[in-house]
């Protein structure tokens, strides 16, 4: 037996032509490739989303005259100026590591332990902070 010659004869094996034609048709036409789906649908989805956002934005501007209800800058500014800012410094206690005595801001250069102020009292706050830092 010539082994190598016998092996070479196997090259004469061919698939059935009916099977080949059917398989070829099913491979090329039977399934939709994931990459084809992504290639066509993802850009379309992004384009639709972008268009949708554009419409929402344009519609909002049209119906509110350029200003979104509730965030009118003029009313916001007026509201901000009307706020009476109060800073409460209460229950502020400091522990002295040396003698264990408690020191309150009232003991430091006469700063009040409870202080009510607005922005006009900024100097008072500055002096209190300076005293605390010493």
């Amino acid at each position: 037996m010539n082994l190598l010659e016998n092996l070479k004869q196997f090259k004469n094996i061919h698939p059935d032509s009916g099977f080949s034609a059917d398989s070829r048709r099913r491979v090329l036409g039977g399934r939709i490739r994931m990459q084809d789906i992504l290639r066509t649908n993802v850009p379309m989805a992004f384009a639709t989303l972008a268009l949708g956002l554009l419409f929402v934005f344009a519609g909002t501007r049209f119906f509110t005259g350029g200003q979104v209800a509730g965030i009118d800058p003029r009313s916001l500014r007026a509201e901000a100026q009307a706020i009476d800012i109060q800073i409460q410094l209460t229950d502020l206690k400091y522990s002295s590591p040396d003698n264990g005595n408690e020191t309150t801001p009232a003991n430091v250069h006469g700063v009040k332990s409870s202080m009510s102020t607005d922005f006009s009292g900024g100097d008072e706050i500055d002096s209190a902070l300076e005293a605390l830092s010493e």
Partner: protein, 179 residues
């Protein structure tokens, strides 16, 4: 290798069905023989061959030419499918009884009974070899690929393929002599 294969592969990667059809027409018989000689059953070989090309078509967009021939990619898919087939069936490489259906569709085979008998023995012995030996024998002595092509397809060096084919042929001879 298919003429103008690089260009055809690029077109197939871009989703051109006709280009993949050319690759199919060129490589399908080769892959079918590879699978059939490792499985031994025509219907199973047809099913696996179909799956190989279906898989290749689905993954074509991600195919990266890394310097290996396109066929090596197809052989790799085919090897994995054959492994899956045996794993699923938990088969111990059973040989079909009686007249082989492999040759029922083959053309140009000699009609001489003795030669047919010899081919059956070789085919049966081939089925019992280790997958690695089967691969190198099919590529080198059935498909008559060059050493370099076989090395590319098997992911081995030329020297390793030479050694592997020597051992594979020796193993095949031993099985035939014993039978």
């Amino acid at each position: 290798m298919l003429e103008g294969e690089g260009q055809i592969i690029r077109r197939a990667k871009d989703g051109e069905k006709d280009a993949f059809g050319l690759l199919y027409d060129h490589y399908q018989p080769q892959i079918y023989r590879f699978v059939l000689l490792k499985i031994g059953e025509k219907a199973e070989a047809e099913d696996i061959t179909h799956q190989v090309f279906l898989r290749a078509y689905e993954k074509m967009g991600g195919y990266a030419d890394e310097g290996h021939p396109f066929s090596s990619w197809l052989y790799e898919i085919a090897r994995n499918r054959v492994t899956d087939h045996y794993r699923a069936a938990k088969a111990d490489f059973p040989l079909p009884d009686g007249e082989s259906e492999i040759f029922a569709v083959s053309a140009g085979l000699p009609d001489m009974v003795d030669e047919h008998f010899d081919m059956e023995k070789v085919r049966g012995a081939l089925l019992t070899l280790r997958p690695e030996y089967q691969d190198v024998i099919i590529m080198r002595f059935v498909e008559e690929l060059s050493l370099q092509e076989a090395a590319d397809n098997l992911g081995k060096s030329v020297g390793a393929v030479k050694l592997l084919q020597y051992r594979a042929i020796q193993a095949l001879r031993n099985i035939i002599d014993l039978s």
